[in-house]
Symmetry: C2
Subunit: 280 residues, 2 copies
């Protein structure tokens, strides 16, 4: 926290930190493999965009702070979260000038996802609330994840693994913390950022891989009916990589099992992250 | 914090508290006068609704925790913030079972608002982003205030005091942390909760006062054009009370100065809070 190494037990943070009181900050979750962060520059660039939008001065030494933690902890395989808040301040929504941002680098074990999710695939419900593609924070990875928490709890109560958000126009947006892809007649389709999707790092990697494979891929408005009728679908996120999506609400997608395009892209992604190999 | 009295300097909270990492919690800001909290029961009831929706077990002793702080600090005139988060936890959006909620009671000096705002009235811009009346969290006072922070910063850059949010259908919703009222041909109109307005405690008090005064008052969809053409308007919040709204975007409201209905209701409100007197 702010360059100091603290016990995981804490406490670490002021109760008046605006990150806590108002979700006034941004974060990135990164995948560490072999002691290195995958796509560190892309994560830092996205964080910088969020901090710029919030008017929080980006601390200059974020890359060094991450390297220090990785070295000190001899981290090999892990999940690394970098959080930057506006810092501690008094009451009120309006930021006070000259507050020192809070920088938190936290190393966690990489979460284990049930084999069920990767082998049998993910079942998603459709969230009862909508993603707001015209929010002040649309496209920014801020600390405001309350809607995602609520949607995930709702999904689990319905026996689903995750929830799919529609935007306020009823188009597919994304899942609670993953981007969405569908294969429609040989074309890979992912909702555009204008439908409230976050510009995911893994989403960008998948679009790169598709280009290398000569697989047509477009950002295009995706209706729920298109998704239900797709040949295959998958979700992308830093920690989960590519996860097959086999069911949305009552509808099986394709044969209701992971498809060949998903498997090929998932293997290529794992090759990039874990084996450091270029896709075949 | 969790019943312990800590130095204001901190640290107080774990960096892995889900209140900080995911805005996974709710809060209330209350007005303390004469050592007592105004409408404590209403605040605790609203907090309970938010915690129930989030599936966070409401700590049973919140009223006692507040009383302890007020007594220990001999607080007379103050702003009191009660925050309840889901508590510290590992990575991931899905809550882990059996996490102990974090309870923070913070006493702050009541913020001083510039005389300008109360005497000359508030100028509001219209936020470039929309309030999502169909969010999972609509109507809940959660920790997710990032949109409000961004809208307020945008308003200040435009030379305004506050920002008015429209909902996704383009109807008036509320300001960044206040409810909106307009006087239209003798009737007090406030946007319904279905337009994304938070169920404000002061909003409810104003509706009660209007009933006592025999002033017609309704919750009704309010268009921006209606507001611009209103006789008077005002914003309501716990800390600011009733604040005259005299301008929205380029439009003066009424004569561009606080109106008689606003003044009468504001006086009655102050009578209730500060003087403990019933309205005349």
């Amino acid at each position: 926290v702010n360059g100091r190494r603290l016990s995981p037990d804490g406490p670490h943070i002021s109760g008046s930190d605006r990150g806590l009181t108002l979700a006034d900050g941004a974060f990135e979750t990164m995948r560490v493999h072999g002691g290195r962060v995958f796509r560190l520059d892309a994560h830092l660039a996205r964080l910088t965009r969020a901090l710029d939008a919030l008017g929080i001065t980006r601390p200059t030494d974020l890359g060094a702070a991450i390297l220090d933690v990785l070295t000190a902890e001899s981290a090999d395989e892990a999940s690394l979260r970098l959080t930057v808040t506006r810092g501690p301040s008094g009451a009120g929504v309006m930021p006070v000038p000259n507050v020192q941002p809070t920088v938190i680098v936290a190393l966690n074990p990489r979460p284990q996802f049930s084999a069920d999710m990767h082998e049998a695939g993910i079942r998603a419900s459709v969230a009862s609330g909508r993603r707001n593609e015209r929010a002040m924070t649309a496209g920014l990875k801020t600390l405001g994840y309350t809607d995602a928490v609520l949607a995930l709890l709702e999904a689990r109560r319905a026996g689903a693994h995750d929830a799919l958000f529609l935007d306020t126009d009823g188009h597919c947006s994304e899942a609670t913390s993953s981007n969405l892809f569908a294969c429609l007649e040989g074309t890979l389709v992912t909702p555009p950022l204008s439908c409230g999707a976050l510009p995911g790092i893994t989403r960008a990697v998948v679009l790169e891989l598709a280009a290398r494979f000569g697989l047509p891929a477009v950002e295009r408005v995706l209706e729920l009916g298109d998704l239900a009728g797709a040949d295959e679908a998958f979700l992308t996120s830093t920690l989960r990589g590519l996860a097959p999506l086999v069911r949305v609400g009552p509808h099986a997608i394709g044969r209701g099992e992971p498809g060949p395009v998903t498997r090929r892209l998932a293997d290529a992604y794992i090759g990039l992250v874990v084996r450091g190999t270029e896709p075949r």
